[in-house]
Each structure stands twice: as structure tokens, then as C-alpha cells.
């Protein structure tokens, strides 16, 4: 990939805050027109990176090139065609959503006629005259997207854009972003939730401790991902472990919270469950603990899965007893 193809190119980026290194020789490249995911646990450096892409903070070392233009410390303005938000979008609480957008349009020199269109795109038209101070987190996210779209971006940088959105809102935002990407807009989405990026992103960078630990296409990430993890409750765990030893493609270990953790692809898992039944071991509950992508994410970042029983999704695989 030549530099000309890159909408974002970051090389050797370093940023420290006192003794804390937020970014440590970080590299990243995003091809124009793709949706790129930036994932990592809290404190990995995602937001610091986005702040520097917007010029809100200056790097200690390294280079940033946005849409072919290298950022310099004396650059004061966000490059044309670059838009988005960092952390949760904030607006003037004493003004309505529409008035906030009018003021931002004034700062950008955008014709106010675009405001109605942006409000419609994020489904905020009917609440546009309410003061932002009374908005929920999800409504502020929508308004943040509207404010970003207002600038007619060619590169959209979004920090956790789906936080606070209900499932419908989540799907709407994902649809909006894929629509923008189809029109050639490059989108960078930061998130700590890998499943949210699945189906939206073309490529992904996984961050850990201020560095990049994996970068590539989503397809490659899926292919390199370990088997998904399931939690299994049986009538005889010892016998279930013994049976698994005979099948090399199934890994079963005792779960410290009770039951067993099974690592296997879905078709292998199906076969294993059938074998358990035939062997007189009853399967009382089977639930997805981690998707393949999540397994990969935790393997790459070393982060501990904090999924609880309430987060589990037995419906996804048809739990049996």
C-alpha cells in the first residue's frame, strides 16, 4: 500500500504524561475509504491517539499524516474534511440541539441548510429544539454524529460512538457508518467492545499499553482467532473432561466460577455435546462465554474477561439441558 492510499498514517508516535507512557512508538495505517476499528482495553491509548489526530494534544515524537497532509506542531486547525469526536460529545447545555449545530455550522462556514439533513440522519429532528442539557448520553452521541456529518467529512474519527445507544440506535449508527464508507468516507472507530466492530469494520488495530499489538483486516483477524469459548454445566464434569481428551480439537478446562470452559469451533462443539449425551453425561447448560474475536482480543491484549453469567448469551447457541 502506498502512502497516497493512506487516509491516516501514524509512525512512531510517542506521548507521555509525567511517568505514564500513553503511546509508545505507535504505528498505524488506514487505507482511504475503509472502516477501521481501534480496539484495546481502557488505558491502552486509544483516546490519546484520537486527541492527537485532532491536534488537541501534541505528540512528543513521531509523525501523523491525515489525508496526505503531515501534521505539524504549529498547525492550529483540524484539517479540512476531518471530523468526529473524542470521548463523549459535549455541547452547550443551555442551547437547543439545533442552535448548537447552527453555531458549529457558523464556525465551519457550512450552510445552515445542512443542519436539518444532519438531524434527520441521526433521528433527532423531533427533539432538535430541546436544550441539550436534558439529553441522555445516547442522544448526545447522536448529536455528536450530526455535528460530525455537518462538516461533510472525508475522514471520520469517532471515539466510542455507540456508547449509551440502545440496540436500535446501535444498528442505525452502524448502518450510517457503513453507508458513509460506501461513499468513500474513511471511518476510524475506537472501541473496547470487539463484537460492536464485527460486521462494520474492514480492518482493525488492536492496542495495548500504548502500542499496536495487531493490525490487519477483519477477515484475517477472524481467521487467526482462536475457537470461541463456551461455558458448560454437566451432570459429571470429570467424565466430560475425560471425553474431551480423546478429541484434540476440543479443549476443556475447569472454570474457577464453576462448570467447564470449552474452547472449540461450533461444529466441533456440536459433535462434543452429542458424544457427551451418548456417554450418559447430561448437558445442563451451555452458553457462549466469548466469541472467536473476543477470544482473539483477550489473547492479544492479555486483558481478563470479566463476562458474568448475566452477560452470557445462551440463546445464541441454543442452550440444552
Amino acid at each position: 500500500m502506498s502512502d497516497a492510499d493512506a487516509a491516516v498514517e501514524v509512525r512512531g508516535l510517542v506521548k507521555t504524561f509525567g511517568d505514564v507512557t500513553a503511546l509508545d512508538a505507535f504505528d498505524m495505517r488506514i487505507r482511504a475509504g475503509e472502516v477501521h476499528g481501534l480496539v484495546g482495553p481502557n488505558g491502552a491509548g486509544k483516546t490519546t491517539l484520537l486527541r492527537m489526530l485532532f491536534g488537541l494534544a501534541a505528540p512528543d515524537a513521531g509523525t501523523i499524516t491525515l489525508r496526505g497532509r503531515e501534521w505539524r506542531p504549529d498547525d492550529e486547525t483540524t484539517p479540512p474534511g476531518v471530523s468526529g469526536f473524542v470521548e463523549d460529545p459535549r455541547f452547550y447545555p443551555y442551547l437547543s440541539a439545533r442552535r448548537n449545530l447552527e453555531l458549529l455550522a457558523e464556525l465551519d462556514g457550512v450552510d445552515p441548510v445542512r443542519i436539518e439533513e444532519a438531524l434527520e440522519l441521526v433521528r433527532l429532528t423531533d427533539r432538535a429544539d430541546r436544550k441539550v442539557g436534558g439529553f441522555s448520553s445516547g442522544m448526545r452521541q447522536r448529536l455528536g454524529l450530526a455535528a460530525s456529518i455537518l462538516r461533510a467529512p472525508r475522514l471520520l474519527l469517532l471515539d466510542e460512538p455507540t456508547v449509551g445507544l440502545d440496540p436500535t440506535g446501535l444498528r442505525e449508527v452502524q448502518s450510517l457508518l457503513t453507508g458513509l464508507a460506501a461513499d468513500g468516507v474513511t471511518v476510524l472507530i475506537s472501541s473496547h467492545n470487539m463484537p460492536e466492530l464485527d460486521g462494520v469494520c474492514d480492518s482493525v488495530t488492536v492496542m495495548k499499553d500504548g502500542g499496536s499489538v495487531w493490525e490487519g483486516s477483519m477477515d484475517r483477524l477472524r481467521s487467526e482467532s482462536p475457537a470461541p469459548a463456551h461455558r458448560l454445566f454437566t451432570s459429571d464434569d470429570d467424565r466430560a473432561v475425560e471425553i474431551a481428551r480423546a478429541e484434540s480439537r476440543v479443549t476443556v478446562v475447569a472454570d474457577p466460577d464453576g462448570g467447564l470452559t470449552v474452547h472449540a469451533d461450533r461444529d466441533i462443539l456440536d459433535g462434543y455435546v452429542l458424544v457427551l449425551g451418548r456417554s450418559g453425561v447430561a448437558v445442563r447448560r451451555l452458553e457462549l462465554r466469548m466469541t472467536a474475536l473476543e477470544s482473539m482480543y483477550f489473547a492479544l491484549t492479555g486483558a481478563e474477561s470479566d463476562r458474568t453469567a448475566t452477560d452470557a448469551r445462551p440463546d445464541e447457541i441454543g442452550a440444552t439441558t
Binding site: 485532532f54 442552535r99 464556525l107 457550512v110 439533513e117
Partner: protein, 440 residues
């Protein structure tokens, strides 16, 4: 959300720039309750003051022109100006200036505005211009409403100036307008100070209250001594430069010094604020500039500067001498005697009065009398038509800024109120009078 924004051709105007930021900031100021309240106070306050004062039998004689509030409507705006110069204008100016940068921190909106098409420089100057506009509007509003209040409630009778000369309605109106114009200069300097507080502390409370506290500190400092050098360096002294318009002949030197001091302060404050704003890393909202060590350093610097100024004020030689007091009191007396005679229907010429003053401080046993204090006394020997030769004694209180109040003996100068030729009642201008000596 399935439609795609980029499908529509973008209608673009010229974006960003100081002008766009200025328009946005003005729109925000207009929408906020505190600036609105301040504007309402400037609209209503002078009328409430004029009406209240007019219902009282006593007058605020301890302020310049306070003793004339029942007699000339033009005294109302000047009394308001006197009060506003102490802490009013610094506070009103910092309502917007002290909050205009810090509010973006409070609302976490820096990341919103800094990711648009305007540079940090655009934002800085746009916000600064908006704050200066608000300060200008506040001063202008107070000038207009207090003048209208004075004229409507009290009337358009001539005003007695600080040298005892009578100012006709037209000239009084001009002097009032010019006086508020002069007060605008230090108000703008306090606006710049508010911007510095707002940028560096990132705290609205500190930004709004900082400048008036500094102003009050300067007022206290100026009361400690009556020298010229240190007093001239204080921003609050510039609020008194309008006194020079009301003496005869007009003295504009304090205005010149005030302009230089205010300009220098404004440039220093804005330059420091701009540098701080430009190099600021917007790396997170948790980085609070109010650490104990910074607060301690700031306090130490503040205490150090104050101590230096206190020493400076103490060492600064006073310019208030018995010669200057005698010169001012005697001319003031002669001019007021003419006014007094005129009020009672007699026309006399000021040059027909021969006034020989002798002023000294009662507390000084030996040596020259100098400095501010309430122990001055002036014996004034007067010869003139119809009065022959009389001696009038006045107790004089001189304030560190050179303004004074002289109170005489009713037996020799007449009662508090005089009956005019047309049967009305007016204040006896010689009963007690105010004047100002203008510092060299």
C-alpha cells in the same frame, strides 16, 4: 440513519476565522442567564437608585457629587460612575471575560470547538473581542440609563464641577458621556485580566471573582498612601481619571497615564493568556490546573507583589501639600461664592472676590503639612462686594486621590438650604463642598 450525508453536494461559505468565533460567542453570551442578569441590572439599577435617593431626605455626601443628587440630574450618573469604579466595572466585565474560556472547561466543550474549522488563534481573539464587546455594552448601558434616570427623576439643572464652576446642561451631558468613556479604558483592562484568569485557572469562579478581588485590593492599596508613582500604576486609579474633566482648567494628564497603564496591563495579560492557551495540551479533562503547589506558588507571587506595592506606597512621597490644598480650596470657594450669589439672584464676578487661604493639618505641630487625612483645616479670608472682609473656617477631609470635602460654619456661609430669587429652595454650595486636586 440509512441515508448518506456525502451524497449531497456541500454548500460551503467561508468558514472559521475570528469573525465566525466572535458571532458564535456573542450568540452564546446572549443565551446565558448571568450576562443577561448583569444587563438587566444595568438597565434597572440606575432608575432604582435615582428613585430611591429622591425619596430620601439625606444625600450620599461622602461620594463625589453625592450632595447634588437632589439638585442636578447629571450628578446621578457621576455618583453611579464613582461607585462602579470601585468594584462594579471589574465585576461586570469579568462576568463574561472570566467565564468565556473557563466555561468551555466546565462544559467539556473544548474538544467540540477545537475540532472545527477555526484555529486556537481564531478562538482566542474571537472570544477576547466578544468579552470586550460585552464590557463596552455594559459601560455604555450604565452611562445611558443612569443619565436618563438622573434627567427623568431629578432634572436637567446645571451641575457644579469639582472646581466650583457651574456646568450648563449641554456641557454637563458631554462631561458625563466623556467620563464614562474614560471609565471604559480601565474596564477593558480588567476584561483582559479576567481573560487571563479564565485561561490560566480554567475555573469560572476564579475567573469571575479574580478581577474584582484584584480591583478591591488595588483600592485598599491606594488608600494606604497618597504618592503618585505607585498609585498611577494601579488600574483602579484610571477609573478616577474623569475627575480631570470636572476641574477648571481641565486636566488630562491622569487620563494619559491611565491609558498607558491600562494598555500595558492589557497587552501583558492578553499575551500571557494567549501563550498559555496556545501551548495547552487538551489531553484530558482530568488534568486540573488547581494543584496545591500551583495554588501555593500563585498565592506567594500575589502576596509578594502586594507586599512590594505596600512598601512602594509607603515610600512614595505625597504630592498633597498645603500649597496645593490652599490653591484648590480658594479657587473652589471663590467660584462657589459666585454660584451662591447667582442662586440668590445676585450677579457677581469671581474676580471681585479676593480669597486668601491658610490651610494646615491640625496634627502637625511643626513642619509642613502634607498628605491625606481628615485633620486639615482651612482659614479663608475673603474680601469682596457687599461682604467686606470675613474669615471662614473649613474642616477639610482630604482623600489619598486628592479629592476633598470642606465643611464650613453656617453662621458665616449661610444655612444648608438657600431660598432662591424665584422662591425655591436650593443647596447652599458653600455650606459644604467637594473638590479635587489632580495629581501632577
Amino acid at each position: 440513519m440509512s441515508a448518506v450525508a456525502a451524497e449531497v453536494p456541500i454548500a460551503r461559505r467561508r468558514g472559521g476565522g475570528v469573525g465566525a468565533v466572535y458571532k458564535v460567542e456573542i450568540a452564546k453570551i446572549v443565551s446565558q442567564w448571568l450576562p443577561r442578569v448583569a444587563v438587566v441590572a444595568c438597565l434597572v439599577g440606575p432608575f432604582a437608585f435615582a428613585i430611591f435617593i429622591n425619596t430620601q431626605t439625606s444625600v450620599p455626601a461622602d461620594s463625589l457629587f453625592g450632595r447634588w443628587v437632589h439638585d442636578s440630574g447629571f450628578s446621578i450618573p457621576l455618583v453611579v460612575l464613582g461607585f462602579a469604579g470601585i468594584a462594579g466595572f471589574p465585576l461586570l466585565a469579568s462576568v463574561v471575560a472570566g467565564d468565556i474560556f473557563a466555561s468551555e472547561d466546565r462544559q467539556s466543550t473544548w474538544k467540540t470547538v477545537l475540532t472545527r474549522s477555526c484555529s486556537r488563534g481564531d478562538l482566542f481573539w474571537g472570544k477576547t473581542l466578544a468579552a470586550a464587546t460585552y464590557s463596552t455594552v455594559i459601560v455604555a448601558l450604565l452611562a445611558i440609563t443612569s443619565t436618563i434616570a438622573g434627567i427623568v427623576v431629578v432634572g436637567t439643572d446645571p451641575l457644579v464641577g469639582l472646581s466650583g464652576t457651574l456646568l450648563g446642561s449641554g456641557r454637563a451631558l458631554g462631561v458625563v458621556a466623556a467620563s464614562f468613556g474614560i471609565a471604559l479604558i480601565p474596564t477593558l483592562a480588567f476584561t483582559c485580566l479576567g481573560i487571563l484568569f479564565s485561561v490560566t485557572t480554567r475555573n469560572s469562579m476564579a475567573g469571575v471573582l479574580g478581577p474584582p478581588v484584584v480591583g478591591l485590593l488595588m483600592v485598599v492599596l491606594s488608600l494606604l498612601g497618597s504618592g503618585v508613582v505607585v498609585r498611577s500604576m494601579l488600574l483602579t486609579t484610571s477609573f478616577e481619571a474623569w475627575h480631570g474633566l470636572l476641574v477648571d482648567p481641565t486636566r488630562l494628564a491622569p487620563l494619559g497615564v491611565g491609558v498607558v497603564v491600562c494598555l500595558a496591563t492589557s497587552v501583558l495579560c492578553l499575551d500571557a493568556a494567549r501563550r498559555s492557551f496556545r501551548r495547552r495540551d487538551f489531553a484530558g479533562d482530568t488534568r486540573n490546573p488547581f494543584t496545591w503547589s500551583r495554588l501555593a506558588r500563585g498565592t506567594l507571587v500575589g502576596v509578594g507583589i502586594t507586599a512590594l506595592l505596600v512598601v512602594g506606597v509607603a515610600l512614595d512621597r505625597t504630592w498633597i501639600t498645603s500649597e496645593r490644598v490652599e490653591g484648590s480650596v480658594s479657587s473652589n470657594f471663590a467660584n462657589l461664592a459666585v454660584v451662591q450669589q447667582g442662586l440668590t439672584g445676585q450677579t457677581v464676578d469671581a474676580s471681585s472676590f479676593k480669597v486668601f487661604p491658610f490651610c494646615k493639618r491640625e496634627s502637625v505641630i511643626a513642619g509642613p503639612s502634607t498628605g491625606a487625612g481628615d485633620d486639615w483645616s482651612c482659614q479663608i479670608f475673603v474680601t469682596g462686594p457687599k461682604i467686606g472682609r470675613i474669615q471662614v473656617d473649613y474642616s477639610v477631609t482630604i482623600r489619598p486621590n486628592g479629592c476633598y470635602t470642606a465643611e464650613g460654619q453656617p453662621a458665616l456661609i449661610g444655612p444648608l438650604h438657600l431660598r432662591t430669587a424665584d422662591g425655591g429652595t436650593v443647596l447652599n454650595p458653600l455650606y459644604a463642598f467637594d473638590g479635587c486636586m489632580i495629581a501632577p
